[in-house]
């Protein structure tokens, strides 16, 4: 009951005129920054951090959290309307969001994303309010073997995402992981895989470089070539009754994905090294796995939009938990928020809940208010985003190319990376022609920098004995499930062959 009292005080604090205004501005700014390919919550929070020194710390963190929320909602917009995931957390949203947009159902995809994000955020807020200290302790029990087992589980779901050709999927995963290892060896600090001895590779290859190349250039070239330049989408519904019908359909066809994403996303988000990207990917994989019609995934299934969107919002709230309770940031954005808190004179950690009660509960209260504000503002802007799709394709296509190149530069500030985007784009076009799945490569480049050090640290802990992944109580079951998922396609193949051989 004490918690409910604190929460009520927190919500009332978030509803104070100054804080409410900051929430509305923050969510709107975050929504548009998140919708730009190449820019995400980390840019918004970093750029607007100095602005927060003009207001009290409680209002400042509320403002930054509102930007964070808005950007999480915004990530789905570029995934659906442009087919380019603006941030790694929205990669999985592209799989079904883009096909829905091409079928003239962009409004349904965006409404599903908004509602799933809202429900995911709400579930996470309740879990956060009720179980913050317990979950923080549980998250601490995740060491390198557990985190690597979790990464292995994420890779196992890739195999399911990749389509029928397992060899091409495995190639794609390994390709993404190798690209992630270009630059410097994280442990020894020695230069590694500096391809053709070009110094630009020393700073590595970022996720956005590959994602923008694959989706912004390669996929667009493929679409233009396949459709002979005449991309047709049916006129999207723009009326209030149309939006209401979409809302009804989103709830009816996306509830399963929303439920899976809301809970799974939160628990993955709480883990210090994981975050929203593995959370959204695993939710997509699990939703597909438990679906009665897995073949509809990747072709415009609303559940395929709902699962990753619910998960990335839920995980974003989850990622705040280790930041507040342990002082460990779960993502680059929470790292900046943590930096802000330190500058404002607050000490994140277990004692924050007792020493700065008003600040903490004001922030938690603002999660609830920001989540609701983000839903309303997002739904209000959907007609504008859908309108973009009514532009003739001969205008939309060059705009996407321009956004890809400028967004890519904004994120990396290096022309070497822009040339890489073009090379990846042309390469992706040809690989797409031969049915190589490229999404696993994009996701592997995100998870590679987490997977490699945790594997190496685990093997160092066990003096090179790989049984460490099977003998620890949390890592063991996760590893076994991951291995079952990896070898499931091979087992299915063998089972299919047996009756054929008998005949």
């Amino acid at each position: 009951m004490e918690v409910l009292g604190f929460l009520a005080d927190g919500i009332l604090m978030a509803l104070e005129p100054l804080n409410l205004m900051l929430i509305l501005i923050g969510v709107s700014v975050g929504l548009f920054i998140g919708a730009m390919p190449g820019l995400g919550s980390v840019n918004g929070v970093a750029i607007l951090l100095p602005v927060t020194f003009l207001v009290p710390p409680g209002s400042a963190i509320i403002f930054l959290a509102a930007i964070y929320y808005g950007a999480m909602y915004g990530g789905a917009i570029s995934s659906v309307t442009l087919g380019i995931p603006g941030a790694s957390t929205a990669v999985a949203t592209t799989f079904d969001g883009r096909p829905l947009a091409l079928q003239g159902r962009a409004s349904l995809a965006l409404v599903t994303a908004a509602i799933a994000s809202f429900i995911g955020g709400s579930v996470a807020n309740v879990l956060f309010t009720l179980f913050a200290p317990v979950l923080a302790t549980l998250a601490l029990s995740f060491g390198p073997p557990e985190i690597f087992a979790l990464m292995l589980l994420a890779f196992a779901t890739f195999v399911g995402l990749g389509g029928d050709d397992i060899a091409k999927t495995v190639f794609s995963i390994c390709f993404g992981l190798v690209l992630a290892s270009v630059g410097y060896d994280q442990i020894s600090g020695a230069p590694r895989l500096v391809l053709l001895d070009i110094s630009g590779f020393l700073h590595g290859i970022g996720f956005l470089v590959l994602a923008i190349g694959v989706y912004g250039i390669g996929e667009m070239l493929w679409t233009i070539e396949q459709t002979r330049g005449e991309v047709t989408t049916t006129t999207p519904r723009m009326t209030v009754s149309g939006m209401l019908a979409d809302t009804k359909e989103a709830l009816a066809r996306g509830w399963k994905g929303t439920t899976i994403g809301s809970f799974l996303g939160f628990f993955v988000g709480v883990l210090p090294a994981a975050g929203a990207t593995p959370g959204s990917l695993m939710s997509y994989g699990v939703a597909k796995m438990v679906s009665r019609a897995p073949e509809t995934y990747g072709r415009g299934n609303p559940d395929g939009v709902a699962a990753p969107e619910a998960a990335n919002n839920s995980a974003s709230t989850g990622a705040m938990l280790p930041m507040l309770t342990l002082g460990i940031p779960g993502s680059p954005t929470t790292a900046i928020l943590l930096g802000g808190m330190v500058i404002w004179g607050l000490v994140p950690g277990p004692r924050l809940f007792t020493t700065e009660t008003e600040f903490v509960w004001g922030l938690i209260g603002s999660f609830y208010v920001s989540n609701l504000a983000a839903l309303i503002i997002n739904l209000a802007f959907i007609p504008l985003f859908v309108w973009m799709l009514r532009m003739p394709f001969t205008i939309l296509a060059p705009m996407i190319f321009v956004l890809s190149i400028t967004g890519g530069y904004a994120a990396t500030r290096d022309m070497h990376d822009i040339w890489l985007i073009v090379i990846f784009g042309l390469g992706a076009f040809f690989l797409r022609k031969f049915d190589y799945p490229l999404a696993p490569a994009v996701l592997a480049i995100v998870l590679g920098p987490i997977a490699e050090p945790t594997l190496r640290q685990s093997l160092l802990l066990s003096s090179g004995d790989p049984s460490i992944f099977f003998t620890r109580p949390i890592a063991g079951p996760i590893t076994v499930i991951a291995l079952i998922l990896i070898f499931l396609p091979a087992l299915k193949y063998l089972r299919r062959r047996k009756p054929a051989a008998a005949e």
Binding site: L39, D165, C174, A190, I418, D435, L455
Partner: protein, 167 residues
């Protein structure tokens, strides 16, 4: 398509071998007290890539993939023309960035695409080609404080005027 799939698998196998060789610049085995060497992770992954290419070639030989059963050309005349005009346009766009600035290159690319590939009228083409880079300038340089490449010295007077507006 049939030949193309095998050629692609062959090229990717060569790339995997190159990555294996490059990974070996750092230790690829287990070092006592230090754990796996710095080259181990990319080396073993590249080896799996190489084995995957072998599997892809085997599937090709057994006619398992759609491309391995297809006699169609990889790209027809329209496809090659699209790739040349659109892909070439993008390469030209990026090549121009260090000459006429990012915003100048955006304007030239939009003009080329809208007028010559999209066949839109001059008023629409000019409006979009000029307003888009202008809007981008105020968004990136003003709102986001991100400086884009400004090309060669001759673009400076234009930027001076624009910066005057922001600051």
């Amino acid at each position: 398509m049939r030949k193309g799939e095998l050629t692609t698998a062959g090229l990717l196998a060569l790339f995997s071998l190159y990555l294996m060789w490059k990974s070996m610049e750092l230790p690829v085995g287990y070092i006592r007290g230090e754990g796996p060497g710095g080259g181990a992770w990319p080396f073993w992954l590249s080896l799996i890539m190489l084995l995957s290419c072998g599997m892809i070639a085997l599937n090709w030989w057994r006619g398992k993939s759609p491309a391995s059963r297809s006699d169609e050309p990889l790209l027809d005349g329209y496809g090659w023309r699209t790739l040349f005009l659109v892909g070439g346009g993008i390469i030209g766009f990026v090549a121009l960035v260090n000459v006429v600035s990012m915003y100048g290159a955006v304007a030239v690319f939009l003009l080329y695409y809208l007028r010559f590939l999209g066949r839109h009228g001059w008023p629409l083409t000019l409006a979009i080609s000029l307003l888009t880079p202008l809007g981008m300038f105020f968004f990136f340089e003003g709102a986001m404080q991100i400086t884009m490449p400004q090309g060669m010295a001759f673009t400076a007077p234009v930027f001076d005027v624009l910066y005057e507006i922001i600051y």
